[in-house]
Subunit: 489 residues, 2 copies
Amino acid sequence: MTAYDQLIAFQRETEALEQVAGRLGWDQETMMPEGATPQRAEEHAAMASVLHQRRIDPRIGEWLDKAEPGDEVARANLRHIRRRYERTAKVPARLASELARTTSLAHRVWAEARGKDDVAAFLPMLDKVLQLRREEAACLATGGDLYDALLDDYEPGGSGAEIAAMFDALRPRLVALRAAILDRPAPRALQGSYAEDGQLRISRDLALAFGYDLDKGRIDKAVHPFSSGSGLDVRITTRTNPQDPFNCFYSTIHEVGHAAYEQHIDAAYLLTPLGQGVSMGVHESQSRIYENQLGRSRAFTGWLFDRMVKEFGDFGIPDPDAFYATVNRVGNGYIRTEADEVQYNLHIMLRFDLERALIAGDLVVADLEAAWNDRFAADFGFAVDKPSNGVLQDVHWSEGLFGYFPTYSLGNVYSGCLHAALRRDLPDLDADLARGDTARATGWLAEHLQRHGGLYEPKEVITRAIGGAPSEAPLLDYLEAKFGAIYNL
Amino acid sequence: MTAYDQLIAFQRETEALEQVAGRLGWDQETMMPEGATPQRAEEHAAMASVLHQRRIDPRIGEWLDKAEPGDEVARANLRHIRRRYERTAKVPARLASELARTTSLAHRVWAEARGKDDVAAFLPMLDKVLQLRREEAACLATGGDLYDALLDDYEPGGSGAEIAAMFDALRPRLVALRAAILDRPAPRALQGSYAEDGQLRISRDLALAFGYDLDKGRIDKAVHPFSSGSGLDVRITTRTNPQDPFNCFYSTIHEVGHAAYEQHIDAAYLLTPLGQGVSMGVHESQSRIYENQLGRSRAFTGWLFDRMVKEFGDFGIPDPDAFYATVNRVGNGYIRTEADEVQYNLHIMLRFDLERALIAGDLVVADLEAAWNDRFAADFGFAVDKPSNGVLQDVHWSEGLFGYFPTYSLGNVYSGCLHAALRRDLPDLDADLARGDTARATGWLAEHLQRHGGLYEPKEVITRAIGGAPSEAPLLDYLEAKFGAIYNL
């Protein structure tokens, strides 16, 4: 065996173990009996320890030194493995294990603090997590920008400056669009109650309509919707709320977007560094285009309207046009995860600016709640009523995920670019979507983007798919056209 | 940290990883999407490789050399760890991995051969497995008996000679009892069809009635009933057959017996060598006493009769006495797993004698089917009609599990001993069982046996529980009394 072959064989085994560790997380959220929690913590820790030992295995360095670059696939594999190995080598073991311990603890403290709306109970833990992550960022940045070093974990090649420029481009037009919409009468909201079994039947039909392969996946209920796993075993979860079936339906489509990306990656990349989505931003571009540009389109919601009538009878929305407006209703709200397409990125900008200031040391944790509330009032025009609707609403910072939030907006921007290219190539797509048939749309995404997995760097795979450099314009144009029509702007 | 503490910390992590690997098996039988099979094989292999590396870690030898014996718990831990380490060290890595590969392949060949009733398709693979296991046995036995060396994996301290003596004691009285019973008219069999949801409701009630802790476990459907896991996460499966609800009910009770053993082990032993059932024979004694001596007793079946009437209405059995006879109906059959209490051990004896001859080299694989069929006709009085009802019926040999079968009968003998002791201590137990209340019975087993986990050697834990040496007599006395009454012998 060549050094490269040995390296890949070792890596395959590591990737297989990562799949096992990931499925342990899936199990915990879906199947695990409550009383197993303490034992599960030890199981997680044992898997993490095994994986850590493998990631710092000095043979990786030796194989990397000896490996011949080879073809495009080999070069991409080596790039991923080298990046990860060098990253791991930069962070002292002491710091890595303190971070693991502290974020696990902070997560519990955050959940309790959010339940009690008690910011003070969370801030000391948050500060500890923040300082450890800043310390880690300093190890990784080797003199460069701290925030960039953290962002790089989720979006290789990204930078805080580039993200800031993206938000500068998004902000004025989104703010203006939001103001214009909220000036208009709102479409009617969904009323009444929708039986869980009916929601789950439609959810399953939606998953199949968007091409989710149930022979290599499954759908379960969980508190939070998520997609888990790569390769031949990619599982999703959804949830139901009797008053809000859209939460179930669009969670399902969103997670199918993530899962379909994983399922469509070239089978030759199975259990190699190329065998998974290349970045959080690109991943989110898939979940978002499935959920929004396709799933919330006038054409597809026409099919969904019929499906809902078939399941629930007359549910108080008279026709597909009114249903389309209801699905895309824009309203005031505190919560990021419940935000509509127009306001979602405003929630992210707020978090990006605050977390960038925290990492830079320009904002201290003691001032975070006030900074959040001021910014929220300025951007949304009303005050945060309680911390669980404000600074305590998201899990990310408790887990040390600084640098993660902007990948959501990057995903939205990429989904706008991909959608424009898709519509350019498939001008008559709406006729398919109106029949609930997404095969050509999802096939286009699989062919132009998803199948490549980690072969190209994030921005490159988008550039190749759309045939040019990505920009914010397509997303903004799409939003203004869509909501302009719905709201008669 | 002392050498002992380091050893136990290392072992805890290994045990946690074993729980993860075991749960991967549970997932495969209950949740895994079909198309994930090839990836799962790599995940299993990766976990097996990690566990193998840990088991041969030379630090274990160093810690064992330095560790002070300490108290009873420490001595038992060291005994288990040493036994396993020495066993692993005796088998060359080449042989261990060839065995893993061959048995995995043989399992698939067996399943296909059984499906087609094609013995010839299986025999070459079986011979390969057999020769590898004989080779392994030679490594382990270091001059001693090959069969004993294999049996020791499942029943530490057991020997082929002792098992043979056990069967010599069982055989004449079981043969006579069987003949007397089959000379009598059979009780009526269950007729009709029983809805799956009703079977599963009763199955759940039975699990709870026998003290299964669903806060630390769960029940799912699978092709084969099994119990999986130790400590705080012990899951069971059951199955349903519309015509045969007893298959579901008694599979559930049987697996609850296994699971309850794991669930009742002293919490201080969690994720240590003492934190799991001590041997296959002792494990089977628990599943069997739950299923048979308690679950098929006249008192408990009275409760089950009422529960079935409540669920299914009049199902054609007039009263609890008739129901008791139906539950305990003895009939001719080919299949071990479907055998009644009287005939079960006759199926095991046949396998024990054949596999002992195979391992000794006194029987060759080419003659196995004829030997099976001759012996079956002699013991059961009618001919095997097809290989899937004969030599191909069990999975064990394809997986290399030579030496495993007799632990089933050992479990039955132990369950007889435990039942006699239990009845001696709780003379009025039937009043409880008639109410579906097993708490005192299962509490007795938890207190006298289950809580000890691996603290004592198999035969010692039975001896301590019953207050004397185990023998075949209590099981035989119980069977003759029970079936004598049902069949008016």
